[in-house]
Protein backbone atom coordinates (compact mmCIF):
# COMPACT_ATOMS: atom_id res chain seq x y z
CA UNK A 1 0.00 0.00 0.00
CA UNK A 2 2.76 2.43 0.99
CA UNK A 3 4.80 1.39 -2.03
CA UNK A 4 1.79 2.02 -4.26
CA UNK A 5 1.37 5.51 -2.77
CA UNK A 6 5.06 6.27 -3.30
CA UNK A 7 4.90 5.09 -6.91
CA UNK A 8 1.78 7.16 -7.52
CA UNK A 9 3.51 10.17 -5.95
CA UNK A 10 6.39 9.89 -8.41
CA UNK A 11 4.10 9.09 -11.34
CA UNK A 12 1.92 12.12 -10.69
CA UNK A 13 4.96 14.29 -10.14
CA UNK A 14 6.53 13.37 -13.43
CA UNK A 15 3.22 13.57 -15.30
CA UNK A 16 2.53 17.10 -14.13
CA UNK A 17 5.97 18.40 -14.94
CA UNK A 18 6.18 21.45 -17.21
CA UNK A 19 9.67 22.96 -17.50
CA UNK A 20 11.05 19.95 -15.63
CA UNK A 21 10.62 17.82 -18.77
CA UNK A 22 13.41 19.76 -20.49
CA UNK A 23 15.67 19.12 -17.53
CA UNK A 24 14.91 15.42 -17.50
CA UNK A 25 15.66 15.28 -21.22
CA UNK A 26 19.03 16.92 -20.56
CA UNK A 27 19.73 14.55 -17.65
CA UNK A 28 18.90 11.46 -19.73
CA UNK A 29 20.96 12.59 -22.74
CA UNK A 30 23.84 13.43 -20.43
CA UNK A 31 23.70 10.08 -18.65
CA UNK A 32 23.51 8.27 -21.99
CA UNK A 33 26.60 10.08 -23.30
CA UNK A 34 28.46 9.44 -20.04
CA UNK A 35 27.68 5.78 -19.53
CA UNK A 36 26.85 4.40 -22.98
CA UNK A 37 29.54 6.27 -24.90
CA UNK A 38 32.28 7.72 -22.69
CA UNK A 39 32.47 4.98 -20.06
CA UNK A 40 32.01 2.14 -22.53
CA UNK A 41 34.38 3.26 -25.27
CA UNK A 42 36.82 5.68 -23.67
CA UNK A 43 37.11 4.86 -19.99
CA UNK A 44 37.80 1.18 -19.36
CA UNK A 45 39.09 0.27 -15.91
CA UNK A 46 42.82 0.20 -16.73
CA UNK A 47 43.91 -2.34 -14.11
CA UNK A 48 40.62 -4.22 -14.10
CA UNK A 49 40.71 -5.01 -17.80
CA UNK A 50 44.44 -5.79 -18.09
CA UNK A 51 44.90 -8.11 -15.16
CA UNK A 52 42.85 -10.96 -13.79
CA UNK A 53 43.85 -10.88 -10.12
CA UNK A 54 44.67 -8.33 -7.44
CA UNK A 55 48.11 -9.88 -7.06
CA UNK A 56 48.90 -9.13 -10.70
CA UNK A 57 47.56 -5.61 -10.27
CA UNK A 58 49.68 -4.93 -7.20
CA UNK A 59 52.76 -6.38 -8.94
CA UNK A 60 52.15 -4.09 -11.87
CA UNK A 61 51.69 -0.99 -9.71
CA UNK A 62 54.82 -1.77 -7.71
CA UNK A 63 56.71 -2.21 -10.96
CA UNK A 64 55.41 1.18 -12.10
CA UNK A 65 56.30 2.87 -8.82
CA UNK A 66 59.78 1.44 -8.61
CA UNK A 67 60.89 1.58 -12.23
CA UNK A 68 64.26 3.17 -12.81
CA UNK A 69 64.74 6.13 -15.14
Amino acid sequence: MILKRILRFYYEGFRRMTWGRTLWTIILIKLFIMFAILKLFFFPDFLGTRFSSDEERSDYVIEQLTKKP
Binding site: F9, Y10, E12, G13, F14, R16, M17, T18, W19, G20, T22, L23, W24, I26, I27, K30, L31, I33, M34, L38, K39, F42, F43, P44, D45, F46, L47, G48, D54, R57, S58, D59, V61, I62, Q64, L65, T66, K67, K68, P69
Partner: protein
Protein backbone atom coordinates in the same frame (compact mmCIF):
# COMPACT_ATOMS: atom_id res chain seq x y z
CA UNK B 1 62.82 15.42 -15.47
CA UNK B 2 62.32 11.75 -14.83
CA UNK B 3 62.82 9.97 -18.17
CA UNK B 4 60.69 6.99 -17.11
CA UNK B 5 57.53 9.08 -17.43
CA UNK B 6 55.72 10.27 -20.54
CA UNK B 7 55.20 13.94 -19.79
CA UNK B 8 52.82 14.51 -22.71
CA UNK B 9 50.60 11.86 -21.14
CA UNK B 10 50.97 13.41 -17.67
CA UNK B 11 50.14 16.89 -18.98
CA UNK B 12 47.08 15.79 -20.96
CA UNK B 13 45.83 13.70 -18.04
CA UNK B 14 46.22 16.68 -15.74
CA UNK B 15 44.56 19.03 -18.23
CA UNK B 16 41.65 16.65 -18.62
CA UNK B 17 41.17 16.24 -14.89
CA UNK B 18 41.45 19.98 -14.32
CA UNK B 19 38.92 20.68 -17.05
CA UNK B 20 36.34 18.23 -15.73
CA UNK B 21 36.87 19.17 -12.07
CA UNK B 22 36.57 22.89 -12.80
CA UNK B 23 33.43 22.46 -14.88
CA UNK B 24 31.97 20.19 -12.18
CA UNK B 25 32.67 22.93 -9.65
CA UNK B 26 30.70 25.42 -11.75
CA UNK B 27 27.52 23.57 -10.74
CA UNK B 28 28.29 22.36 -7.22
CA UNK B 29 28.63 25.53 -5.09
CA UNK B 30 25.31 26.98 -6.23
CA UNK B 31 23.59 23.69 -5.34
CA UNK B 32 25.20 23.62 -1.88
CA UNK B 33 24.35 27.18 -0.98
CA UNK B 34 21.03 27.71 -2.73
CA UNK B 35 19.63 24.61 -1.01
CA UNK B 36 20.03 26.32 2.38
CA UNK B 37 18.76 29.68 1.16
CA UNK B 38 15.61 27.96 -0.13
CA UNK B 39 15.24 26.09 3.16
CA UNK B 40 15.41 29.38 5.08
CA UNK B 41 12.84 30.97 2.75
CA UNK B 42 10.48 28.01 3.14
CA UNK B 43 10.93 28.15 6.91
CA UNK B 44 9.75 31.78 6.76
CA UNK B 45 6.75 30.62 4.72
CA UNK B 46 5.84 27.87 7.17
CA UNK B 47 6.39 30.03 10.26
CA UNK B 48 4.58 33.16 8.97
CA UNK B 49 2.02 31.47 6.71
CA UNK B 50 2.52 34.26 4.15
CA UNK B 51 1.98 33.09 0.57
CA UNK B 52 4.57 35.57 -0.71
CA UNK B 53 7.32 33.47 0.91
CA UNK B 54 5.96 30.36 -0.79
CA UNK B 55 6.15 32.12 -4.15
CA UNK B 56 9.71 33.24 -3.39
CA UNK B 57 10.71 29.74 -2.29
CA UNK B 58 9.23 28.15 -5.39
CA UNK B 59 11.03 30.52 -7.74
CA UNK B 60 14.47 29.91 -6.25
CA UNK B 61 13.66 26.22 -6.13
CA UNK B 62 13.24 26.28 -9.92
CA UNK B 63 16.71 27.79 -10.36
CA UNK B 64 18.08 25.26 -7.86
CA UNK B 65 16.43 22.48 -9.87
CA UNK B 66 17.95 23.68 -13.15
CA UNK B 67 21.42 23.89 -11.65
CA UNK B 68 21.06 20.54 -9.87
CA UNK B 69 19.76 18.74 -12.97
CA UNK B 70 22.48 20.03 -15.26
CA UNK B 71 25.25 19.53 -12.73
CA UNK B 72 24.17 16.14 -11.39
CA UNK B 73 26.49 13.28 -12.26
CA UNK B 74 29.17 15.56 -13.77
CA UNK B 75 31.37 14.39 -10.90
CA UNK B 76 31.05 10.78 -12.04
CA UNK B 77 33.38 11.59 -14.94
CA UNK B 78 36.11 12.26 -12.41
CA UNK B 79 35.64 8.72 -11.14
CA UNK B 80 35.90 7.37 -14.70
CA UNK B 81 39.21 9.21 -14.99
CA UNK B 82 40.54 7.75 -11.75
CA UNK B 83 40.08 4.23 -13.09
CA UNK B 84 41.39 4.86 -16.58
CA UNK B 85 43.93 7.67 -16.46
CA UNK B 86 45.04 7.54 -12.85
CA UNK B 87 45.14 3.81 -12.15
CA UNK B 88 48.44 3.85 -10.22
CA UNK B 89 46.99 6.52 -7.97
CA UNK B 90 43.63 4.73 -7.60
CA UNK B 91 45.36 1.53 -6.62
CA UNK B 92 47.82 3.22 -4.28
CA UNK B 93 45.15 5.14 -2.33
CA UNK B 94 43.19 1.93 -1.74
CA UNK B 95 40.17 2.22 0.50
CA UNK B 96 41.17 5.65 1.83
CA UNK B 97 39.61 7.21 -1.23
CA UNK B 98 37.14 4.44 -1.94
CA UNK B 99 35.46 4.45 1.49
CA UNK B 100 34.46 8.13 1.64
CA UNK B 101 33.26 8.05 -1.97
CA UNK B 102 31.23 4.90 -1.33
CA UNK B 103 29.60 6.48 1.73
CA UNK B 104 28.87 9.55 -0.36
CA UNK B 105 27.23 7.47 -3.07
CA UNK B 106 25.10 5.36 -0.79
CA UNK B 107 24.10 7.73 1.99
CA UNK B 108 24.12 11.27 0.76
CA UNK B 109 23.16 10.80 -2.87
CA UNK B 110 20.08 8.74 -2.03
CA UNK B 111 19.11 11.05 0.82
CA UNK B 112 19.43 14.00 -1.53
CA UNK B 113 17.60 12.34 -4.43
CA UNK B 114 14.70 11.11 -2.32
CA UNK B 115 13.97 14.43 -0.67
CA UNK B 116 14.46 16.43 -3.86
CA UNK B 117 11.47 14.53 -5.26
CA UNK B 118 9.38 15.61 -2.25
CA UNK B 119 10.64 19.19 -2.69
CA UNK B 120 9.46 19.39 -6.28
CA UNK B 121 6.52 16.99 -6.42
CA UNK B 122 5.18 17.29 -2.91
CA UNK B 123 3.88 20.87 -2.56
CA UNK B 124 0.23 19.86 -2.39
CA UNK B 125 0.75 16.22 -1.53
CA UNK B 126 2.45 16.32 1.85
CA UNK B 127 2.01 18.53 4.88
CA UNK B 128 3.81 21.90 5.04
CA UNK B 129 6.09 20.67 7.79
CA UNK B 130 6.99 17.46 6.00
CA UNK B 131 7.77 19.43 2.87
CA UNK B 132 9.92 21.82 4.87
CA UNK B 133 11.74 18.88 6.44
CA UNK B 134 12.39 17.47 2.94
CA UNK B 135 13.84 20.81 1.82
CA UNK B 136 16.20 20.97 4.80
CA UNK B 137 17.19 17.32 4.32
CA UNK B 138 17.96 17.98 0.65
CA UNK B 139 20.25 20.81 1.73
CA UNK B 140 21.98 18.63 4.32
CA UNK B 141 22.17 15.73 1.86
CA UNK B 142 23.94 17.87 -0.74
CA UNK B 143 26.38 19.13 1.86
CA UNK B 144 27.05 15.64 3.21
CA UNK B 145 27.91 14.58 -0.36
CA UNK B 146 30.46 17.35 -0.45
CA UNK B 147 31.80 16.36 2.97
CA UNK B 148 33.02 12.93 1.85
CA UNK B 149 34.63 14.17 -1.31
CA UNK B 150 36.39 16.94 0.57
CA UNK B 151 37.61 14.48 3.22
CA UNK B 152 39.14 12.41 0.42
CA UNK B 153 40.73 15.48 -1.11
CA UNK B 154 42.06 16.62 2.27
CA UNK B 155 43.72 13.23 2.73
CA UNK B 156 45.61 13.82 -0.51
CA UNK B 157 46.87 17.14 0.91
CA UNK B 158 47.67 15.63 4.30
CA UNK B 159 47.75 11.82 4.27
CA UNK B 160 47.05 10.46 7.77
CA UNK B 161 45.29 7.55 9.43
CA UNK B 162 46.66 4.88 7.10
CA UNK B 163 49.55 2.49 6.66
CA UNK B 164 51.12 1.31 3.43
CA UNK B 165 50.93 -2.40 2.72
CA UNK B 166 53.91 -3.43 0.53
CA UNK B 167 52.24 -6.76 -0.31
CA UNK B 168 49.34 -5.06 -2.07
CA UNK B 169 50.97 -1.67 -2.87
CA UNK B 170 47.94 -0.04 -1.28
CA UNK B 171 47.37 2.33 1.59
CA UNK B 172 45.02 0.81 4.11
CA UNK B 173 42.90 2.81 6.49
CA UNK B 174 44.15 2.40 10.04
CA UNK B 175 42.01 5.00 11.73
CA UNK B 176 38.86 6.31 10.05
CA UNK B 177 38.46 9.15 12.55
CA UNK B 178 41.99 10.37 11.94
CA UNK B 179 41.15 10.63 8.24
CA UNK B 180 37.69 12.09 8.81
CA UNK B 181 38.64 14.59 11.51
CA UNK B 182 42.08 15.60 10.31
CA UNK B 183 42.47 19.36 10.83
CA UNK B 184 43.03 19.79 7.09
CA UNK B 185 39.79 17.94 6.30
CA UNK B 186 37.76 19.91 8.84
CA UNK B 187 39.07 23.27 7.60
CA UNK B 188 38.77 22.30 3.96
CA UNK B 189 35.15 21.21 4.35
CA UNK B 190 34.08 24.27 6.33
CA UNK B 191 35.95 26.69 4.09
CA UNK B 192 34.64 25.13 0.89
CA UNK B 193 31.00 24.95 1.91
CA UNK B 194 30.97 28.43 3.42
CA UNK B 195 32.46 29.81 0.20
CA UNK B 196 29.75 27.95 -1.71
CA UNK B 197 27.10 29.58 0.51
CA UNK B 198 28.64 32.96 -0.26
CA UNK B 199 28.49 32.25 -3.99
CA UNK B 200 24.83 31.25 -3.75
CA UNK B 201 24.02 34.37 -1.72
CA UNK B 202 25.66 36.56 -4.37
CA UNK B 203 23.73 34.71 -7.06
CA UNK B 204 20.42 35.45 -5.29
CA UNK B 205 21.36 39.08 -4.61
CA UNK B 206 22.56 39.56 -8.20
CA UNK B 207 19.43 38.10 -9.79
CA UNK B 208 17.21 40.07 -7.38
CA UNK B 209 19.18 43.23 -8.18
CA UNK B 210 18.40 42.68 -11.86
CA UNK B 211 14.68 42.61 -11.05
CA UNK B 212 15.01 45.84 -9.07
CA UNK B 213 16.86 47.52 -11.93
CA UNK B 214 14.07 46.40 -14.26
CA UNK B 215 11.47 47.44 -11.67
CA UNK B 216 9.91 43.96 -11.79
CA UNK B 217 8.86 41.80 -8.83
CA UNK B 218 10.10 44.49 -6.44
CA UNK B 219 8.76 43.01 -3.20
CA UNK B 220 9.94 39.55 -4.18
CA UNK B 221 13.42 40.90 -4.96
CA UNK B 222 13.74 42.89 -1.75
CA UNK B 223 12.70 39.95 0.42
CA UNK B 224 15.10 37.67 -1.43
CA UNK B 225 17.92 40.15 -0.88
CA UNK B 226 17.24 40.35 2.87
CA UNK B 227 17.52 36.57 3.22
CA UNK B 228 20.49 36.22 0.87
CA UNK B 229 22.49 39.15 2.26
CA UNK B 230 21.98 38.00 5.87
CA UNK B 231 22.89 34.42 4.98
CA UNK B 232 25.75 35.67 2.80
CA UNK B 233 27.17 37.90 5.52
CA UNK B 234 27.36 34.99 7.95
CA UNK B 235 28.77 32.78 5.19
CA UNK B 236 31.50 35.18 4.07
CA UNK B 237 32.56 35.89 7.66
CA UNK B 238 32.81 32.16 8.24
CA UNK B 239 34.68 31.75 4.94
CA UNK B 240 37.25 34.26 6.16
CA UNK B 241 37.59 32.53 9.56
CA UNK B 242 37.95 29.07 7.99
CA UNK B 243 40.26 30.48 5.32
CA UNK B 244 42.50 31.63 8.14
CA UNK B 245 42.27 28.10 9.60
CA UNK B 246 43.19 26.63 6.21
CA UNK B 247 46.19 28.95 5.94
CA UNK B 248 47.40 27.88 9.40
CA UNK B 249 47.11 24.23 8.39
CA UNK B 250 48.87 24.89 5.11
CA UNK B 251 51.78 26.62 6.86
CA UNK B 252 52.27 23.51 8.99
CA UNK B 253 51.43 20.68 6.56
CA UNK B 254 52.30 22.17 3.15
CA UNK B 255 54.92 24.86 3.81
CA UNK B 256 56.06 24.88 0.17
CA UNK B 257 52.56 25.75 -1.00
CA UNK B 258 52.37 28.44 1.69
CA UNK B 259 55.69 29.97 0.58
CA UNK B 260 54.68 29.80 -3.11
CA UNK B 261 51.31 31.48 -2.62
CA UNK B 262 53.08 34.45 -1.03
CA UNK B 263 56.08 34.39 -3.39
CA UNK B 264 58.33 34.08 -0.35
CA UNK B 265 61.85 32.93 -1.31
CA UNK B 266 63.89 33.84 1.70
CA UNK B 267 62.39 32.81 5.01
CA UNK B 268 62.13 35.44 7.67
CA UNK B 269 60.77 36.13 11.11
CA UNK B 270 57.96 38.63 11.23
CA UNK B 271 57.12 37.99 7.57
CA UNK B 272 54.82 40.48 5.88
CA UNK B 273 51.77 39.62 3.84
CA UNK B 274 51.89 40.85 0.26
CA UNK B 275 48.53 42.54 -0.17
CA UNK B 276 49.18 43.46 -3.79
CA UNK B 277 52.03 42.38 -6.03
CA UNK B 278 53.18 41.79 -9.59
CA UNK B 279 55.35 38.70 -10.02
CA UNK B 280 58.24 38.92 -12.51
CA UNK B 281 61.40 36.93 -13.31
CA UNK B 282 64.18 37.40 -10.84
CA UNK B 283 67.16 39.23 -12.33
CA UNK B 284 69.64 37.45 -10.04
CA UNK B 285 68.75 34.07 -11.48
CA UNK B 286 66.51 34.58 -14.53
CA UNK B 287 67.04 31.03 -15.84
CA UNK B 288 65.48 29.47 -12.78
CA UNK B 289 61.78 29.36 -13.62
CA UNK B 290 60.90 28.81 -9.98
CA UNK B 291 62.70 31.89 -8.77
CA UNK B 292 60.50 34.96 -9.14
CA UNK B 293 60.51 38.45 -7.75
CA UNK B 294 58.04 41.31 -7.42
CA UNK B 295 58.08 44.27 -9.79
CA UNK B 296 55.76 45.96 -7.34
CA UNK B 297 54.39 44.96 -3.98
CA UNK B 298 52.43 46.42 -1.15
CA UNK B 299 53.15 44.52 2.03
CA UNK B 300 51.45 44.47 5.41
CA UNK B 301 54.26 43.98 7.94
CA UNK B 302 54.28 40.83 10.10
CA UNK B 303 50.84 39.71 8.96
CA UNK B 304 51.99 36.53 7.18
CA UNK B 305 53.69 35.33 10.38
CA UNK B 306 50.51 36.01 12.30
CA UNK B 307 48.38 34.30 9.66
CA UNK B 308 50.51 31.18 9.91
CA UNK B 309 51.21 30.84 13.63
CA UNK B 310 49.16 33.55 15.42
CA UNK B 311 52.47 35.19 16.32
CA UNK B 312 53.61 38.38 14.59
CA UNK B 313 57.27 37.40 14.92
CA UNK B 314 57.21 33.72 13.97
CA UNK B 315 59.58 32.40 11.32
CA UNK B 316 58.09 31.56 7.92
CA UNK B 317 60.33 29.43 5.70
CA UNK B 318 60.74 30.58 2.11
CA UNK B 319 61.17 28.42 -0.97
CA UNK B 320 64.96 28.58 -0.62
CA UNK B 321 64.86 27.46 3.04
CA UNK B 322 62.71 24.51 2.12
CA UNK B 323 64.92 23.57 -0.83
CA UNK B 324 68.37 24.23 0.60
CA UNK B 325 67.55 23.74 4.26
CA UNK B 326 67.91 26.07 7.20
CA UNK B 327 69.86 24.51 10.08
CA UNK B 328 69.04 27.37 12.41
CA UNK B 329 65.32 26.71 12.01
CA UNK B 330 65.71 22.93 11.94
CA UNK B 331 64.65 22.61 8.29
CA UNK B 332 66.50 19.84 6.44
CA UNK B 333 67.58 20.35 2.81
CA UNK B 334 65.23 18.78 0.34
CA UNK B 335 67.97 16.48 -0.98
CA UNK B 336 67.89 14.70 2.39
CA UNK B 337 64.24 13.88 1.79
CA UNK B 338 65.08 12.84 -1.76
CA UNK B 339 67.72 10.44 -0.41
CA UNK B 340 65.24 8.95 2.07
CA UNK B 341 62.62 8.67 -0.66
CA UNK B 342 65.09 6.74 -2.79
CA UNK B 343 65.73 4.39 0.14
CA UNK B 344 61.97 3.82 0.47
CA UNK B 345 61.54 3.06 -3.25
CA UNK B 346 64.56 0.74 -3.22
CA UNK B 347 63.21 -0.99 -0.09
CA UNK B 348 59.90 -1.64 -1.85
CA UNK B 349 61.77 -3.19 -4.79
CA UNK B 350 63.84 -5.35 -2.42
CA UNK B 351 60.78 -6.38 -0.45
CA UNK B 352 59.09 -7.62 -3.59
CA UNK B 353 62.21 -9.53 -4.73
CA UNK B 354 62.71 -11.06 -1.29
CA UNK B 355 59.06 -12.14 -1.21
CA UNK B 356 59.43 -13.83 -4.58
CA UNK B 357 62.58 -15.59 -3.37
CA UNK B 358 60.88 -16.58 -0.08
CA UNK B 359 63.61 -14.80 1.89
CA UNK B 360 61.78 -13.79 5.07
CA UNK B 361 64.78 -12.21 6.75
CA UNK B 362 65.39 -9.93 3.78
CA UNK B 363 61.66 -9.15 3.65
CA UNK B 364 61.72 -7.95 7.26
CA UNK B 365 64.76 -5.78 6.65
CA UNK B 366 63.30 -4.25 3.50
CA UNK B 367 59.96 -3.66 5.21
CA UNK B 368 61.64 -1.90 8.13
CA UNK B 369 63.57 0.35 5.74
CA UNK B 370 60.38 1.11 3.82
CA UNK B 371 58.39 1.96 6.93
CA UNK B 372 61.17 4.17 8.29
CA UNK B 373 61.35 6.21 5.09
CA UNK B 374 57.85 5.88 3.69
CA UNK B 375 56.80 9.42 4.58
CA UNK B 376 59.37 10.64 2.03
CA UNK B 377 58.52 8.00 -0.59
CA UNK B 378 57.53 10.48 -3.31
CA UNK B 379 60.72 12.55 -2.96
CA UNK B 380 62.67 9.61 -4.39
CA UNK B 381 61.47 10.57 -7.88
CA UNK B 382 63.14 13.97 -7.81
CA UNK B 383 66.85 13.23 -7.63
CA UNK B 384 67.52 14.62 -11.11
CA UNK B 385 65.19 17.57 -10.91
CA UNK B 386 64.61 18.73 -7.33
CA UNK B 387 63.46 22.14 -8.60
CA UNK B 388 60.30 20.40 -9.78
CA UNK B 389 59.33 20.23 -6.09
CA UNK B 390 58.45 23.93 -6.22
CA UNK B 391 54.95 24.67 -7.52
CA UNK B 392 54.28 27.51 -9.94
CA UNK B 393 54.73 30.65 -7.87
CA UNK B 394 52.80 33.03 -10.19
CA UNK B 395 49.76 30.70 -10.36
CA UNK B 396 49.78 30.08 -6.60
CA UNK B 397 50.32 33.75 -5.80
CA UNK B 398 47.67 35.16 -8.12
CA UNK B 399 45.02 32.53 -7.39
CA UNK B 400 45.41 33.13 -3.64
CA UNK B 401 45.31 36.91 -3.94
CA UNK B 402 42.37 36.95 -6.36
CA UNK B 403 40.42 34.68 -3.98
CA UNK B 404 41.20 36.79 -0.91
CA UNK B 405 40.58 40.16 -2.60
CA UNK B 406 37.23 38.98 -3.94
CA UNK B 407 36.36 37.51 -0.54
CA UNK B 408 36.70 40.94 1.06
CA UNK B 409 34.74 42.51 -1.81
CA UNK B 410 31.91 40.06 -1.09
CA UNK B 411 32.01 40.97 2.60
CA UNK B 412 31.65 44.64 1.67
CA UNK B 413 28.84 43.81 -0.74
CA UNK B 414 26.83 41.90 1.89
CA UNK B 415 27.19 44.74 4.40
CA UNK B 416 26.27 47.37 1.80
CA UNK B 417 23.16 45.46 0.75
CA UNK B 418 22.01 44.99 4.32
CA UNK B 419 22.55 48.69 5.05
CA UNK B 420 20.69 49.71 1.87
CA UNK B 421 17.85 47.34 2.80
CA UNK B 422 17.46 48.74 6.30
CA UNK B 423 17.68 52.33 5.04
CA UNK B 424 15.05 51.55 2.42
CA UNK B 425 17.33 52.67 -0.42
CA UNK B 426 17.73 49.45 -2.35
CA UNK B 427 15.72 50.45 -5.42
CA UNK B 428 17.42 53.80 -5.84
CA UNK B 429 21.00 52.54 -5.46
CA UNK B 430 21.41 51.58 -9.08
CA UNK B 431 25.19 51.55 -8.91
CA UNK B 432 25.16 48.89 -6.20
CA UNK B 433 22.47 46.91 -7.96
CA UNK B 434 24.74 46.78 -11.02
CA UNK B 435 27.68 45.84 -8.81
CA UNK B 436 25.66 42.91 -7.44
CA UNK B 437 24.99 41.58 -10.95
CA UNK B 438 28.65 42.09 -11.85
CA UNK B 439 29.62 40.13 -8.73
CA UNK B 440 27.95 36.89 -9.88
CA UNK B 441 30.80 35.92 -12.25
CA UNK B 442 33.29 37.23 -9.66
CA UNK B 443 31.92 34.72 -7.14
CA UNK B 444 32.64 31.90 -9.59
CA UNK B 445 36.12 33.27 -10.27
CA UNK B 446 36.87 33.39 -6.52
CA UNK B 447 35.56 29.87 -6.02
CA UNK B 448 37.62 28.46 -8.90
CA UNK B 449 40.70 30.39 -7.74
CA UNK B 450 40.47 28.66 -4.38
CA UNK B 451 40.62 25.28 -6.08
CA UNK B 452 43.45 26.39 -8.38
CA UNK B 453 45.47 27.33 -5.30
CA UNK B 454 44.58 24.09 -3.53
CA UNK B 455 45.42 21.82 -6.45
CA UNK B 456 48.16 23.59 -8.40
CA UNK B 457 49.76 24.94 -5.25
CA UNK B 458 50.38 21.40 -4.03
CA UNK B 459 52.13 20.28 -7.19
CA UNK B 460 54.11 18.18 -7.91
CA UNK B 461 52.15 16.02 -5.49
CA UNK B 462 49.00 14.07 -6.13
CA UNK B 463 49.39 12.73 -2.57
CA UNK B 464 51.52 15.06 -0.50
CA UNK B 465 55.09 13.73 -0.13
CA UNK B 466 54.06 10.20 -1.12
CA UNK B 467 53.10 10.18 -4.77
CA UNK B 468 54.04 12.72 -7.43
CA UNK B 469 51.52 13.39 -10.18
CA UNK B 470 53.79 11.89 -12.84
CA UNK B 471 53.87 8.51 -11.02
CA UNK B 472 50.09 8.43 -10.64
CA UNK B 473 49.09 8.21 -14.30
CA UNK B 474 48.25 5.05 -16.24
CA UNK B 475 50.45 4.08 -19.13
CA UNK B 476 47.90 4.74 -21.82
CA UNK B 477 48.15 6.54 -25.13
CA UNK B 478 48.43 10.31 -24.68
CA UNK B 479 46.43 10.71 -27.90
CA UNK B 480 43.38 9.00 -26.41
CA UNK B 481 43.53 11.27 -23.36
CA UNK B 482 43.75 14.23 -25.72
CA UNK B 483 40.67 12.99 -27.61
CA UNK B 484 38.59 12.66 -24.46
CA UNK B 485 39.82 16.07 -23.30
CA UNK B 486 38.18 17.65 -26.38
CA UNK B 487 35.07 15.48 -25.99
CA UNK B 488 34.67 16.68 -22.42
CA UNK B 489 35.28 20.25 -23.43
CA UNK B 490 32.41 20.00 -25.94
CA UNK B 491 30.09 18.14 -23.54
CA UNK B 492 30.65 20.42 -20.57
CA UNK B 493 30.52 23.59 -22.64
CA UNK B 494 27.18 22.42 -24.04
CA UNK B 495 25.96 21.79 -20.48
CA UNK B 496 27.19 25.20 -19.31
CA UNK B 497 25.45 26.90 -22.24
CA UNK B 498 22.25 24.94 -21.48
CA UNK B 499 22.52 25.96 -17.82
CA UNK B 500 22.93 29.65 -18.60
CA UNK B 501 20.16 29.63 -21.25
CA UNK B 502 17.62 27.82 -19.07
CA UNK B 503 18.49 29.87 -16.01
CA UNK B 504 18.25 33.18 -17.87
CA UNK B 505 14.96 32.08 -19.42
CA UNK B 506 13.51 31.20 -16.01
CA UNK B 507 14.84 34.46 -14.55
CA UNK B 508 13.28 36.49 -17.34
CA UNK B 509 9.94 34.70 -16.75
CA UNK B 510 10.27 35.54 -13.07
CA UNK B 511 8.40 34.22 -10.04
CA UNK B 512 4.93 32.86 -10.56
CA UNK B 513 2.80 30.16 -9.04
CA UNK B 514 3.58 27.67 -11.81
CA UNK B 515 4.55 24.03 -11.57
CA UNK B 516 7.89 22.32 -11.70
Amino acid sequence: MHEAFDYALVDWSRAQFALTAMYHWVFVPLTLGLAFIIAIMETLYVSTGKEEWKRITKFWMILFGVNFAIGVATGIILEFEFGTNWSNYSWFVGDIFGAPLAIEGILAFFLESTFIAVMFFGWDKVSKKFHLAATWLTAFGANISALWILVANAWMQYPVGMHFNPDTARNEMGNFWEVFLSPVAVNKFLHTISSAYTLAAIFVIGVSAWYLLKKRHVVFAKKSIVVAATFGLVAILYTIVTGDGSAKQMARKQPMKFAAMEGLYHGTSGAGLVALGIVVDNQEDPDNENYKDFALKIEIPNLLSYMAYSDFNSFIPGVKDLMEGNAEQGIPPVMEKVARGKVAIQALTEYKLAKKAGNEEQMLLARAALEENFKYFGYGYFEKDPDALVPSVPISFYSFHIMVALGFWFLALMIIFLVLTFKGRLETSRFWLRMAIFSIPLAYIASQSGWVLAELGRQPWVIQDLMPTMAAVSQIDAGSVQTTFWLFLILFTALAIAEVRILTKQISIGPKDGGH
